[in-house]
């Protein structure tokens, strides 16, 4: 932001365009309107599909459908209930079950994926490994597979009759593992997320490593640092901002988990209607058409996602550049 102001101040540009403090003789010029025309399309979309849905969602969350008569024979009326929906949600074991599950998911899946991504990125950036571009492509290709298709694809790997893994176990006279049972299904989903997003994170780390000035390496080598030492003391600290970004997106993605469990629900009885918070919101708002309670749950999910993102960004602040 600072550089931008300097640019404007330094540029020999007619002031009516770049400066709000136009000289009096230019007050009739309409040039000031241009920047607003440039941002207008974005603002329209932003207000319509970001601000309005959030505001409307929160308004809805303060209402509920109530039957006037005790028997429920009279048509339901929509009445203001204040924070009742939120109180109900906070006492709803279904919602907390979902939050707890995505928390456990994130605590395990994110570190595993990030460590693997970092190791591959370090090897990709190392001068001693051959066929780097092939390995890099192989890691990145799963990211081209849409999440839903990835879930369907891995679903076949988890289905006993068709899975090549189960085939291998059977041919070795072993009992194939149950990928879809209550104790394993979460990790089967974690595997799908890891498979899709590992290469994406690897590429973020790799791109950040490529941006490290070569002079640092030369200095380190003259100081007698080994390749492993360079990785530990230069590369990992230098790519900290990139790791922070990758971690942030992974935390958000974990809390928002929806596609994979929604697809696997079809073949696994272990996925219930409150498996993840978003699955719960979908079932309340869409399947049960309870817009009001669903609105409160969606707002809570958004709020908790924000709290976790904000907490993460605050806790990792100031550690930039190691």
């Amino acid at each position: 932001m600072a550089t931008q102001t300097e640019h404007v101040a330094a540029s020999p540009v007619p002031e009516a365009i770049t400066s709000r403090a136009a000289k009096p003789r230019r007050t009739l010029s309409l040039a000031w309107i241009w920047p607003y025309l440039f941002i207008l399309p974005f603002l329209l979309v932003f207000v319509t599909f970001f601000v309005a849905p959030f505001v409307y969602d929160i308004i809805q969350s303060f209402y509920a459908e109530k039957h006037a008569g005790g028997l429920g024979l009279s048509p339901p009326k929509v009445v203001w209930v204040g924070l009742d929906n939120y109180v109900q949600a906070l006492h709803d074991p279904g919602l907390w079950d979902g939050f707890w599950r995505v928390f456990v998911f994130g605590i395990v899946q994110i570190p595993v994926m990030m460590v693997l991504a970092l190791l591959i990125a370090l090897l990709m950036d190392s001068v001693v490994i051959r066929f780097r571009s092939f390995f890099r492509l192989a890691a990145f290709v799963p990211y081209a597979v849409p999440g839903v298709v990835a879930a369907i694809l891995w679903g076949f790997f988890y289905t006993p009759g068709i899975s090549p893994i189960s085939q291998a176990f059977r041919s070795a006279q072993l009992t194939p593992p149950d990928f879809l049972g209550p104790s394993t299904i979460l990790w089967s989903i974690a595997n799908i997320s890891t498979w899709v997003y590992l290469g994406y994170n690897m590429l973020i780390f790799f791109a950040a490593m490529q941006a490290i000035p070569q002079e640092l390496y030369e200095a380190a080598r003259i100081d007698g640092l080994t390749e492993v030492g360079i990785a530990r003391h230069i590369k990992i600290p230098m790519i900290f901002p990139a790791m922070r970004l990758g971690l942030l997106f992974s935390i958000i993605g974990s809390i928002q988990l929806f596609n994979e469990p929604r697809i696997l629900e079809n073949i696994s009885g272990a996925i219930n209607e409150h498996f993840t918070p978003n699955i719960f919101a979908y079932n309340i708002a869409y399947i049960q058409s309870n817009y009001y309670y669903g609105g409160a749950i969606a707002a809570l999910i958004g709020f908790i996602t924000f709290v976790f993102s904000f907490a993460f960004m605050t806790l990792t602040q100031g550690k930039k550049r190691g």
């Binding site: 068709i162 791109a207 969606a298």
Partner: protein, 307 residues
Amino acid sequence: MATIPADLPNVPTEQSGGDRRQVLIGYKAWAPKNMVGYVFLIGMTIYFLTPLYWLFIASSKDNTDLFASFGLWFANFKLLDNLTQLFTYEGGIYLRWILNTVLYAVVGGAASTFIAMMAGYALAKLRFLGNRLLFAMVLGAALVPLTTLAVPIYLVESKIPGLTHTYWAVLLPTLLSPFGVFLARIYATASISDDLIAAARVDGASEFRIFWSVALPILVPGMITIFLFQFVAIWNNFFLPLVVLSDPTLFPVNLGLATWSFDPAAHELLNNIIVTGSFVAVLPVAVLFLFLQRYWRAGLSLGSVTG
């Protein structure tokens, strides 16, 4: 990229795909101590590629062989039969889904890229009241994924008569790309010089003319990166179409394949179509990815270094 220092005379350089790196004497690519790295990379590569390899093999099998034959090798080669079945099933609706997806991803991606370029250019190069506030909002919104917005958007759209269950219901929300604006601002700041804009103004060009004829051509690589990000986001979009569409003729291929796999009665009979349909859906995007890989790296490094 740094030049080779003069005090290290015997440093050869390795050139591969424009990636010019220094190789120091004493490092051998096949040294035993590097073998751990190779074993790890080969193991990971097997993990990444086996499911896709299986998908290719499986799309050549009929429903009997899918269950009866060894999964990682061909049985009776029925790829053409499967493709015929896939493209004629339910009156050829699969082709319709592919075309819908292309429509959503290409039109939505292109339109949102253009909207993001205009806003990002204005944020980077034009001074106006609310510039900082708008940028702060863009940053905040970039952290909110489309999934969070699916239920709220559904609530709003279901109140607008005639919007849900149309192409617009999916297309319009995908025009929003705060991350695209964020990237566009970075690209415009980095690659458009103020002198260039000033010169164009002296020549009497209008602000839009400057954006269109001077700035945009310079920003083409950035535009491709932003388009790719949004294209993939829309191609992956599942939650939103799931809740705002009910007419199967409007489905993107994601949702179409999912509904086939949701149908428990037909599931057993449809396995070969679902497998072949997944294969066909993956292929074009995977190819597009491989060819445009450098734009990904450009986008990711800028986004992560600055973010």
